[in-house]
Amino acid sequence: MTALLDHLPILPIAIPLFAGAVMLLLTESRRTLRNSLALGSLVAQLAVALALLYRTTDAAAHLWPEGIGVYAIGGWPAPFGIVLVVDRLSSMMLTLVATVALAALVYSMSHWDRPGQPFHTLFQLLVMGQNGAFLTGDLFSLFVFFEVLLAASYGLVLRGVGAARVRTGLHYIAVNVAASFLFLIGVALIYGTVGTLNMADLLGHVEALRPADRTLFDAGAWILGIAFLVKAGSWPLNSWLPGAYSVSVAPVAAGFAIMTKVGVYAVLRIGTLMSEDEAAAAILGEILYYVGLVTLVSGMIGMLATQHLRRLVAYSVIVSSGLLLASLGLGIEPVTPPVLFYLATSVLTTAAFFLLTGMTDRTRLLAPAAPEPASQGDILPVYMAFGVTSPDPYGTEEEVGAAIPAAMAFLGLMFVCCVLLVAGLPPMPGFVAKFTLLSVVLETAPAVGARNAGWVLAIAVLATGIVSIIALTRIGMRLFWSPAQRRTPRLNVVEAVPVAFLVLLCLGLTAASGPVMRFFEGTARSLHTPETYIETVLGTRAASEPRGDAR
């Protein structure tokens, strides 16, 4: 049994891969089987993620010393083979992925997964890419997992045809493919100078570099950092984000909620592993602070300017990315725990909000569809290629399952909760996160000579709260208090429960903020002592050689 449990770290990649592959074989008529397979896969992943989370805490210190588990794929030892590394940060991210994906999947079963295209397979691959990116300890396989999750997301963005959707999808693909080339160039430069791609192995080689090679290496790290920033949705490389998120259907957008955080995670992970002075994120140095700040401000302007709820939520994703990057860019160590807390809450928040927008969209009276520019004869083959026959398969009101009573009251309550979540007001965990963040920043920033930077960040963070309240109140008033143009939609239980679940989970985070924050403090400690990580990962070489099997 314990030997089997050693293989836990590979499961978050293996389960969705196999589930997705099997689902390709199941046709539309085997819906029940396919849905239960999808659900079972995500429930299993959640269980695995929780088990991994438990193993990285102090409570299970006898299993994995220092809370870091290393899984050598194929039994090849560390710097030569590819390793999966489970530490607190990655296990926390895995849990978030599984939670959000589970909520989005249950939601999608109302009617969103219906027409054509293998929605469930793509969704599983999206989850697999995210899990892999959080687990891997190798730069190139990080690239591969990024591509897996991006490829799945390309397919998911394009769900439900329509010129606007395809156009935005095209922008999204173009920008991200170009960013992937940057990623590759960065990885190649790093490999060309230090001769290793293992993240844990980097630091030792970097210190031994000749000055000329060091310049090349730094160039590689910067190019890599820019690729991460594109994924994290930071200004000025984020114009694809609001479009892509706002045209995709609600459960897909919710599944994307964690995607920008993959970029932030990569900055944090590689930054702490490559830095010699152990600052929070040294990969891009001080510039990260300014980039983050501008991202934050541009996101706020976008929130104020937009009239469309889902687009507004997409801008709030940019705001949260900016906040995370700016705080990390300050280069203060104690800032990491509240940053991680904020990251977790903002993922849950945006996922809940995106799911909610799918329901609020239906309060609009059905407007006559805008005429398509091209003639029907031109379009039909395109629709057929996508496996659908009508321009907007989600406009129709064919739904399954029981409806919940008091739909409008439920929508209103959830909307208020989501607004509080985005704005970071009590009793929501965003408040706890922002409050701790500000107190830490204002306390410690003067000590490292960043007093002004700290104050600017504090003001910006407070401004985001006010701006979100203003922007969301405006939309909320139109949504709920001008019933003349609105109608009460029919809400399914399967749609309502995931949203309520995510909101309740957020409330639970507030209630348990003490223990959660302590966990994040432990996470930050292990992040800022990269020596332990490096020793544990490279130490498996000695441990696994005599046995020759996977640890």
Binding site: F140, R167, I173, F181, I185, A374, P381
Partner: protein, 113 residues
């Protein structure tokens, strides 16, 4: 050889970036393809350019200096496959957009006649 190689990559990147910034989808996809060629050559070059050296060691007593670095070659293979797949997907989306919007502009309109 290094100079020619570097020059080739430079020309490919320059042409690729220029095309990527053009307004029409076909130019963008050509730009992305050129960029992917340049990237692949670059990764390959990062394993150092060597002639007539096998990448696979023969026997335990092999002298590593006499061999080419196999890893960049493996990386290039992966990158080629992934780049090819995303380009193919891009092509499909490009055609779908052409059919739906009736124009091949990435983000614009046909000029009024």
């Amino acid at each position: 050889m290094e100079a020619v190689y570097a020059l080739a990559i430079g020309v490919l990147v320059a042409a690729g970036v220029w095309l990527l910034l053009r307004p029409r989808t076909f130019q963008v996809i050509m730009g992305l393809s050129l960029l992917s060629y340049a990237t692949n050559l670059f990764i390959f070059g990062m394993g150092r350019l060597e002639i007539q050296r096998p990448p696979i060691l023969e026997g335990p007593a092999a002298e590593a200096v006499l061999y080419a670095d196999p890893l960049p070659q493996a990386l290039v293979l992966t990158a080629i496959v992934i780049g090819f797949a995303t380009t193919a997907l891009f092509l499909v989306v490009l055609l779908a957009l052409r059919g739906l919007a009736g124009t091949d502009h990435v983000d614009g309109r046909e000029p009024e006649p």
